[in-house]
């Protein structure tokens, strides 16, 4: 439904916190690509994601511009969720809405022009990502961090079926991150992931390095790094198994 839109996402560099120009002057991302954003806390990773999310036209503190297929997006593309090209999984995962999971998902589906019946599938998918099952009648405000993030991940995959997906620090939530990324990358999407997590960072094809608010470098993931990523995936599976064993109240055996 959205696959014929947004082939290229371009970031035109702006300035860092001191007003010096971004060393990366122009960055193009194509469909099917997963791109990382890395850098220390406060280096401007979330600001870069925010620039993309709101299709900055030089009107944010960084002065960056975001182009879709080489053009500035129109104002209604920037704001109408039915035309929205971007789905975002942010650090802000606490819900303030005073309604049930089912009611919320149905209303969100409506706002995106989808059938409210997809709510059931969102909950089903969310429950493949978290060890603590989410129930349709649960009140949103009582969900744990992991449940909220699992629900939002599934929501993005099913309801916010946008060609560009922005993910901000998915690793902090206690959900199955590799499955979550697989679910979000879907076919032909541009996925931008902010991360401190070595495995997620190395799952990308390129990563932008941020420093003092500016984009300073782009690193291509080397074959050597890809090998490290495969090893990390095994460690990650082991950790998830241990987590579930402990959650079930069982005794942990020796590593095999």
């Amino acid at each position: 439904m959205t696959t014929d839109r947004a082939c290229t996402l371009t970031i035109i560099g702006g300035v860092d916190k001191d007003g010096s120009p971004d060393l990366v002057e122009r960055l193009e991302m194509h469909r099917g690509e997963v791109i990382g954003i890395v850098g220390p806390t406060g280096s401007g990773k979330s600001s870069l994601i925010a620039d993309i999310e709101q299709f900055a036209v030089g009107d944010t503190p960084s002065g960056r511009k975001i182009l879709i297929d080489g053009c500035e997006p129109r104002a209604e593309t920037r704001s109408d969720p039915r035309k929205k090209l971007i789905a975002q999984l942010s650090q802000n995962m606490h819900f303030l809405a005073d309604m049930s999971v089912d009611e919320f998902l149905r209303m969100h589906a409506k706002s995106r022009g989808r059938s409210p019946d997809v709510a059931e599938r969102v909950i089903e998918l969310a429950n493949t990502l978290t060890g603590e099952p989410v129930h349709p009648d649960h009140h949103l405000t009582i969900l744990s961090g992991g449940q909220s993030r699992a629900l939002m991940t599934a929501d993005i995959a099913v309801i916010s079926d946008s060609p560009i997906v922005l993910i901000d620090e998915i690793e902090n939530a206690g959900i199955k991150k590799r499955e979550a990324l697989d679910l979000l990358t879907g076919e032909g999407k541009i996925v931008v992931v902010v991360t401190h997590d070595p495995m997620l960072a190395l799952m990308t094809s390129r990563r932008v390095v941020m420093k003092n608010g500016g984009m300073v470098r782009v690193i291509e993931t080397s074959p050597g790094e890809q090998k490290v990523c495969e090893d990390l995936a095994k460690v990650d599976d082991w950790l998830m198994d241990l987590r579930e064993t402990i959650r079930r109240g069982e005794v942990v055996g020796a590593a095999t």
């Binding site: 925010a50 999310e53 709101q54 036209v57 009107d59 944010t60 503190p61 104002a75 920037r78 704001s79 969720p81 789905a87 975002q88 999984l89 942010s90 802000n92 995962m93 606490h94 819900f95 303030l96 809405a97 005073d98 309604m99 919320f104 209303m107 969100h108 409506k110 706002s111 995106r112 939002m152 929501d155 309801i159 916010s160």
Partner: protein
Amino acid sequence: MKLVVLAGTPGSGKTSVLIHAARSLIRYGLRPAVVKIDCLWTEDDRRFERLGIPVAVGLAKDMCPDHYSIYNVDEMLEWASSQEADLLLNETAGLCLRCAPYPDRCLAVCVIDVTTGPNAPLKVGPLLTTADVVVVTKGDIVSQAEREVFRERILEVNPGCRIVEANGLTGKGAAELAELIRDGPEASDDMHLRHNPPLAICTLCAGELRVSKRHHRGVLRHLDGFMEYSGE
């Protein structure tokens, strides 16, 4: 003279949004003047003064602040003309959510804060339902899905409005709002309100301080919705 009437729930970020928008308007070569209406006290005029634009304050004191804004519109427009402004930004202090201080010939802007929850748009009434532009603030505090649900709720009560997502801290959305203001209508000397103010015909309006229905006359609405006329 273009007229913008900006209203919204307390603490929603009306002043911050307006300051960012005023900055963009100045960049477009317009000459805005600001009238800030408040109830008892304000120092927001100092924040506007830093922009170097004419600013005046009206304190409604013991008058309803919305009524006060409404019957003072001509005085505000005359003052703005005397300041050689071509645009009057009137920030109101609406509190009871029953009035909407928007004349027909203005750009009516309602500022509402997303942290008030998705049921809030249903509670705000004519302030929201008769606005041309609804500015949604504090969206960075909730998830994208919750912002979109909030937006859907606004469109349920005001299907024709233009929604602007803004951030009073970073200035996001200010340029978009400024464009809408630039293209907004000219005020006239024969303007009407878009929505009728509430019935203000009981003895509380005339200064009776005692509580309970037995002390009051006029049209009184019971808790169950029944309306009675008490008096001669």
